[in-house]
Symmetry: C2
Subunit: 428 residues, 2 copies
């Protein structure tokens, strides 16, 4: 049997403890599957005295993760601290410089510094693996980079923040407004310390930046993602969407257009009967479309100790088996720049507006849309009180530019009473 | 750049032509992703003169696949001929003996001869890869063997024959009987030359044998699978199941019980709202449950040129990248025997019986079930004519043995008029 693969694990939160548990419980199985023993040499965390419910006495303790990353008895540095900068970045760079492979669950680190880190890994002849950084336990990085390596990828979509999906499905199922369900989620401990990371779409956008990079061979470009959170999604919109056969999801979409790579993380309408539309609660889903495979849908838990540790272990087993693939699936030098592209690809849109209830208002609305080249597929005006008329529109496919120009014209008129809601409809 | 990876492709049907097309169209992309050129040295098929719509003049032609497998300018033998014995087996053995890796889409070959072939591969220091043999374009072998390598797998389930799923969903959606829809499928060219392979569950069971082996570290044991086709599924059962919130699927299930590995490929009831229940038409789905990851669901096209070629290319790219994993995920010598286990794990069952309409019939039915230890969860008796009474029962969890003993007692009585329908209900 080959020499043992020796790990240094930095970060003993939920995921780190989960990884330690699996390695202790399944040592024999792991060694049978990979042909090597997988052992922990050393660990590192903020508080050495805390009881984490798993025995750590067999492992050397390093208070400094950089020192852990550089230890001679560590082959693979397992970075489970989190944070896009600071200790996680320093220790990852130190590990690569010291000739260690890196396994990380850190989406923010790679979304913001992925290209430089991939270059550093290649210069050192090492790799960074990050299955756990995207969609928890779903082996989506592996499926895209390896299983679908024969495909030119045409579109990647995903619901990748379980908290947002919980909030949106709970609003729909219980008929509750956003603020109430947000508070429920907070009380249940579902939200990050900074909830904007969840409901503002930041966390999910970090994941999308990584998926885009491996799908399209581009440098991760988090700043190029059009991000909109779920804070403005109202129970009215959820109900109207449902009534027309749609559900609202915080959906990440990455696709190539003539103008470049379009990346967005926004609330979208998806057909209620589609796999994405049927996704309830905290589960994640990624849809991958390729020129040969057509469409693959992957679904599973997006967070939690077991699922995330499962993804980390998949990467560790790959390294134990000798798999060395460039960080983003191809050499860092061949990754193309991915400048921010505005949404050039036409899509149908859902619009909700409140019209002043006076003669000619509807004509002005229809005329503003028509002049911008936006044509109406379905329209409904609902029963209303004397002064204002709620109107719903589903457009035919149009560009976001055309839609925005129509909305600007309407804002300058006196017929639209409040800020219109405009959500893209994503066909599946 | 490393030396080119040189392929010999045996079999130029739909899948073989699809592989040739991808290699010609995406040469640059494949070489960027794998760090090597992937080239075709030679091909082999029955008819050298047939126009297959793709240029083959650049490749050497071998009329004998064994000769192809042994060529000096072939590193990887790509077996796309099909058939569990004969040329496919001979050529695969020859390729391994000559020191070639093998990529195959041949489920029957591996389901029946997998252990011996895996041993031959290891003796030669080579590997066999077979992503395309199970669930078409879905990277399920990779997900199980690699992505979920840190998991002890607890259950694997799958809808893996698109034709059967097409027939069953079409029966339900159009309200048509089995025979009519079977003929439709035949007219559409959906059926194998021997339709028993599809509707008899054989094809799907071949796939299940392979999934079981990699999930549970056992030797593929096709003969140990309890197989029942969809020929006896009636539109009545589909309607009654739907009425109770279920759908009927030809479902493969593999799980460990105290008596050993249980493998079945049978029509089952699944909750209509579950991912398996929502699966329409020819799409495939595999559900994997592991101790760490909980549940992963993979969905995609189960057949067709592009999806199957995509899976073959994933394996080829892995080999180009230097990935060498034992055929069934662990050394062949460590694979456990998997003797046929009867269904020992209790499950709820759906029963449909026709009772003689005479006093005491229902009492005899209830008594036979009760004496066998089968308790009733839900029961319905439908409106009926004078002589017979259709009765539906959903049992609480019971073993198949207990159920069969109750059914035997009923058959010996004079109250049940026709062969009862008994279908397992698989919870998700």
């Amino acid at each position: 049997m080959a020499a043992a693969l020796r790990l240094g694990i930095a970060g003993l939160g939920t995921v780190g403890v989960g990884v330690v548990r699996i390695i202790r419980r399944q040592a024999e199985m792991l060694s049978m599957r990979t042909g090597r023993d997988i052992v922990i040499s050393a660990v590192s965390a903020r508080d050495a005295s805390k009881d984490r419910g798993v025995p750590l006495g067999d492992y050397a303790w390093e208070s400094d993760p950089v020192a852990l990353a550089q230890r001679d008895d560590v082959d693979v540095f397992v970075e489970l601290m989190g944070g896009s900068d600071g200790a996680a970045k320093d220790a990852t760079e130190a590990a690569l410089a010291a000739g260690k492979d890196v396994v990380t669950a850190n989406k923010a680190l790679l979304a913001l510094h992925g290209t430089a880190l991939a270059e550093a890994a290649e210069a050192a002849g090492r790799v960074i693996r990050f299955e756990a950084a995207v969609a928890g336990g779903i082996p989506v990085i592996k499926s895209l980079t390896e299983g679908l390596a024969g495909n030119e990828i045409t579109r990647v979509m995903g619901v990748m923040n379980g908290t947002c999906n919980y909030i949106l499905t709970r609003m729909e199922n219980a008929g509750l407004p956003y603020d109430t369900v947000f508070q429920e989620a907070a009380d249940l401990g579902y939200l990050e310390a900074d909830p904007t990371l969840d409901v503002g779409g930041i966390d999910a956008a970090h994941k999308l930046a990584l998926l885009s990079a491996i799908a399209f061979g581009t440098k991760p470009n988090f700043d190029g993602i059009a991000i909109e959170g779920i804070e403005r999604v109202s129970i009215d919109d959820i109900r109207q969407a449902a009534d027309m056969g749609y559900r609202i999801k915080l959906l990440g979409v990455a696709q190539q257009s003539a103008r470049g790579l379009e990346q967005s993380m926004q609330p979208c309408l998806v057909p209620a009967s589609s796999p994405l539309g049927q996704l309830e609660g905290g589960t994640n889903m990624v849809v991958i479309e390729g020129d040969a495979v057509d469409q693959i849908v992957l679904r599973g838990p997006g967070a939690g100790e077991g699922p995330t540790a499962s993804a980390v272990m998949g990467d560790i087993c790959d390294l134990a088996r000798g798999l060395h693939i460039p960080t983003f699936g191809q050499p860092a030098a061949t990754l193309k720049a991915a400048p921010a592209a505005t949404a050039a690809l036409p899509a149908p849109y859902y619009l909700r507006l409140t019209l002043a209830d006076k003669p000619g208002a509807l004509a002005k609305l229809a005329s503003a849309l028509g002049q911008a080249g936006v044509s109406i597929n379905r329209m409904r005006q609902y029963a209303h009180d004397a002064s204002e008329a709620p109107v719903l529109i589903v457009t035919h496919k149009c560009t976001r530019d055309a839609l925005d120009s129509a909305l600007a014209a309407l804002a300058a008129s006196d017929v639209v009473l409040s800020q219109p809601v405009a959500l893209r409809i994503e066909d599946l």
